[in-house]
Structure formats: structure tokens, C-alpha cells
């Protein structure tokens, strides 16, 4: 019922854009609040629809997937959560998908954050992963299968110091358990004992700093999940091979869920983003058509050719 209603309203919205075009060409542009209403409805209504659009898997996501499937069970993965709630709609679904995959394939997660909110986002991802029936089949113990080392101030200097020893920056985990007493961290001294680093980054400090220090200096393998805005900045590192793969924004998250065969939030959100983009593109077209028509009218007020 809601699905049908949403489709009807979205169709009406699409049709009404012709009237918006007519008004704009006529020199009577619609008010800002009308544009806001279009955007709001275009984002909200698809969330009620139970449709998953077909999504081609890009090479950036495929490369990351191919790298992580090669990690044998028991591999130690350093997972850096460098984002906060505003970026969570894009980054949290990919983090959840990654954590689920890690637990299902016996990868050992060492979680940390260069952003104060990062470890809290990690806790939320862990809780969501534990609700998955396939993850819940096997008991996962804190300290053995994963550890949350928490936040450390110092931005890229934290990564730099971790090269000398993780214990220097994280003498205890978030539960105040000493580093040496945590089973998962046994024999983990620095980056040379880590099989893979996965960074979920929304800005500074984030993926760029992990590439510059974690990859260039300490020769680690790094995969990244970033916001769509930040993805443009880290693409050079992808083509140079400094990143093994990249999940860029909501589409990256949805593709990652698809390639891992996980039905997560990004697969639902991508439809909302699709309609949001469609609305913005429609307004770009309307604005420009009006711009050229009105420009021609001003040049030629008599209507002569």
C-alpha cells in the first residue's frame, strides 16, 4: 500500500515539474520552499518503497572485495573508524557490512578511532552485526575476536607513533584492560603484524593520512570507505595502487553490500539517493532551460528571428 502510494506521489511530482518549468520560463520561478518540498519528498518517499535498483559493481569496490576474500581466517584487521554521525548514513552501512563479513569469516578486528566519535560508531556497527543470524551462530568474544582500542588524540601522529608500537598509543582498550592482557593483541606490536587496514573516513584525519603514513611509510595494505564528497580526493591513491580498493559514498556502500550478498541499509538508501539526484538534475535542467530561453527573449524582445 505504502509502496504504491509512494510511487503515485513520485509520479505526480515528476509530472508537476513540467509546470515548474513553464513557470520558470515565464519568469516566475517557484519559491525556495517549493524546491525544498520536492527534495524532501524525493528523499523520504523512496524509503517506503521496497524496490532495490539494479546496481553495477564498479572496479573500485570489486578490487576491495577481491582483496578481503583472500584474507585467511584468523587474519588481523585494523579497522579505523574516523567519522561521526553526520557521515554515518554513508559510512555506517559499509562498516556494518565489513564487520559482518569479518565475523563470518573469522577475521580478527582491532578497532580504533582518530575521531572521538569513531569508537562509538564502531560499537553501533558491532551491535548491528551481532543481530545478524549468521554472525550470531558463532559466539564472538571481546578480546579474542575483536577489541575496541578507543580514541586517541594526535591525528596522523597517532598513526606515526603506532609504527613504533600500538601499545604506545593504546596502553589499554576502552574497558581499561591492559594491552598485554588482551589475547587478540598477543604478538601484535606494530603494522608489520597487521594483515590489512580498513579505514572508514569522513575527512581529516582519515584516509589521506592512513595512505601517507600507514601505506607509504609502514607498507601496509589499506582499503577505504569514504563519503562521496571525500572520495574525489582519494581517487589518486586508488589509481596509484596505494589503496587496494575504495567504497565511495552511498553507492559504494550499496555495491559493497551487493558484492558481499548482505542486505543492508545502503541497498535501501540508494533508492532515496537516486530520486534525490534525479530531482536535483531536473532542477538543473529547468534552471538552465529557463536561463537560455529568458536570455534569448531579452536579446530579442519582439520575438523576431
Amino acid at each position: 500500500m505504502l509502496n504504491t502510494l509512494a510511487i503515485i506521489i513520485l509520479s505526480l511530482m515528476g509530472a508537476s515539474l513540467i509546470y515548474v518549468l513553464y513557470r520558470t520560463i515565464d519568469g516566475r520561478p517557484v519559491e525556495r520552499r517549493i524546491v525544498f518540498a520536492y527534495i524532501g519528498l524525493a528523499v523520504m518517499l523512496p524509503l517506503m518503497m521496497k524496490v532495490t535498483p539494479p546496481l553495477p559493481i564498479t572496479t573500485d569496490v570489486q578490487k576491495l572485495y577481491e582483496h578481503i576474500v583472500k584474507l585467511p581466517p584468523g587474519s588481523k584487521v585494523l579497522c579505523a573508524f574516523d567519522f561521526d554521525p553526520p557521515s554515518a548514513p554513508e559510512l555506517q552501512p559499509m562498516a556494518v557490512a565489513f564487520v559482518k563479513y569479518a565475523f563470518k569469516h573469522d577475521l580478527k578486528l582491532i578497532i580504533m578511532g582518530l575521531w572521538p566519535q569513531g569508537p562509538q560508531q564502531a560499537n553501533m556497527a558491532l551491535q548491528e552485526a551481532f543481530r545478524d543470524s549468521l554472525v550470531a551462530v558463532k559466539p564472538h568474544e571481546e578480546g579474542i575476536d575483536w577489541v575496541n582500542l578507543g580514541f586517541q588524540s594526535g591525528n596522523e601522529f597517532v598513526i606515526l607513533s603506532m609504527g613504533d608500537g600500538f601499545k604506545r598509543m593504546f596502553p589499554r582498550d576502552t574497558r581499561l584492560i591492559p594491552y598485554d592482557s588482551i589475547p587478540i593483541l598477543k604478538n601484535v606490536v606494530n603494522f608489520s603484524n597487521i594483515d590489512f587496514i580498513m579505514n572508514f573516513g569522513a575527512g581529516y584525519p582519515g584516509t589521506r593520512e592512513w595512505v601517507q603514513i600507514g601505506v607509504d611509510r609502514y607498507k601496509s595494505d589499506l582499503g577505504a570507505g569514504t563519503t562521496a564528497v571525500q572520495a574525489t580526493e582519494v581517487y589518486p591513491y586508488l589509481s596509484s595502487g596505494q589503496l587496494v580498493g575504495l567504497l565511495g559514498g552511498m553507492s559504494g556502500a550499496a555495491e559493497f553490500e551487493k558484492v558481499l550478498a548482505e542486505k543492508g541499509k545502503a541497498s535501501t538508501f540508494i533508492l532515496a539517493q537516486m530520486f534525490g539526484h534525479a530531482t536535483v538534475m531536473a532542477f538543473v535542467i529547468i534552471g538552465n532551460v529557463a536561463f537560455f530561453v529568458l536570455g534569448r527573449k531579452k536579446k530579442n524582445p519582439e520575438g523576431n528571428n
Binding site: 520536492y38 539494479p54 564498479t58 586517541q152 598509543m169 574525489t232 581517487y235 589509481s239 530531482t279
Partner: protein
Amino acid sequence: MRREVPVLITSIAGLVFAISYFIPHTPFGRAESIFGDWVSIVQAFAIWLGVLNLLKVSLEKIFRKSEGWPYSYLIIASLFGTLIVGFYSGFSGINATPQYTYSDTGTGFDWVYQNIYTALTSTMFSMLAFFVGSASYRAFRARNIQATLLLISGFLVMGGRVPLLDRISSIFTETPIFSNLANWIMNYPNSAGQRAILIGIALGIMSSSLRVILGIERSHVGGGN
């Protein structure tokens, strides 16, 4: 001395970081580690300075009855409210069996984080979508060649990064043309532009770092003349 000592510390630290990149052995490697720890400690103190500054600015607003002064009460109440809830959750967790931390699921701090902080910050950020929509209607115009190129590439990336234009083109072909095109734009023109920016930034940082290390640039120690 108030200016010379900070300038000297900056110069030594800058030189150590620069040299240790090429010679990561004793004494430079060790010195770099020590300075790295200093950064973490100084930044941790900066968080406290931030809290104190927020208090100072908010209290000044209240006493001076500046514009929007009642909101400053809200800021102070939120600051102390979150602090109290966080400390209470933390201390309760230390004494509980099994132990839990202040940020664990189900604690008061976690409730504040998920139900207030997350909701407020997400709301602020999501408003961008509305502004982008409004700007696309009123300002994003193909006024000249540069703006037209930006508009076309933006249009293709927006439509290609989501399965929108590919859905339309699927009537004619199975190949995801627009998705491939968006990826090409991101991988080649975008990467080239970003690299140029990165190289420019790196050169700028190098020159300004040299000025700081050599003591020519002293604005970071403040004080004017």
C-alpha cells in the same frame, strides 16, 4: 624569550620530523617518537582549552545579553549534562560486574549520543541536500565554457553514481554506459586535477614549513611586534 623559545622548539621539532623521514634511525627516529607523543598530549590539552573557550564565550554572551544569549544557557547545560552523564556511566561501569565502559550500549552516555547528538548533527548535515537542491535551480548555470564543463561532468557523475541514467539507457543497451562514464570522470580528469592540487599543496606546505623551521615565519607564536 617568550618568542625565541617557542620558535626554537618549532625549528627543532620540524627538523627532526623532516630528517627522520629519510633517516629513521637513532637519534632521529627516537626523537620523532617523542615529539609524536608530545603532539598527542598537546592535542588532548587543546580539547580542554576548547571546553574552557566555549564556556568563556557562552558566559560572556549571557552577561552582555548579546544577540541569542538564551541559547548560551542551552550550550552550557548541554555541555555539563553530557559530562555528568558520561562520568556517571563511566564510574558505574568500573564498579559493575562485568565491567562496562561509559560508551557501551545501554549506558546513559550512549542514549545521549544516539538520541540527541546523532539526531542533531545528522539534521544539520542533511540540510545540505535542500541547499544543493535550491542552488541547482537558482545558481547552477551554463554561463561560460568552464561552467558548462562543470555542469556536464557534475550531471554525468550525479546520474552515473546512482543507477539512474543507466536505467534509462538500459532500454537501448545492457552496458552501464553512464556508470562507466562517471567512473572514467572520477578516475582520470578528477584524479589528474586532484593530483595537481595535491602537488600544489605539498609545495606550499614545504615552503611555509621551511619558513617556520628557519624562524622567518613567526606568526604562529603570536604577539605581533
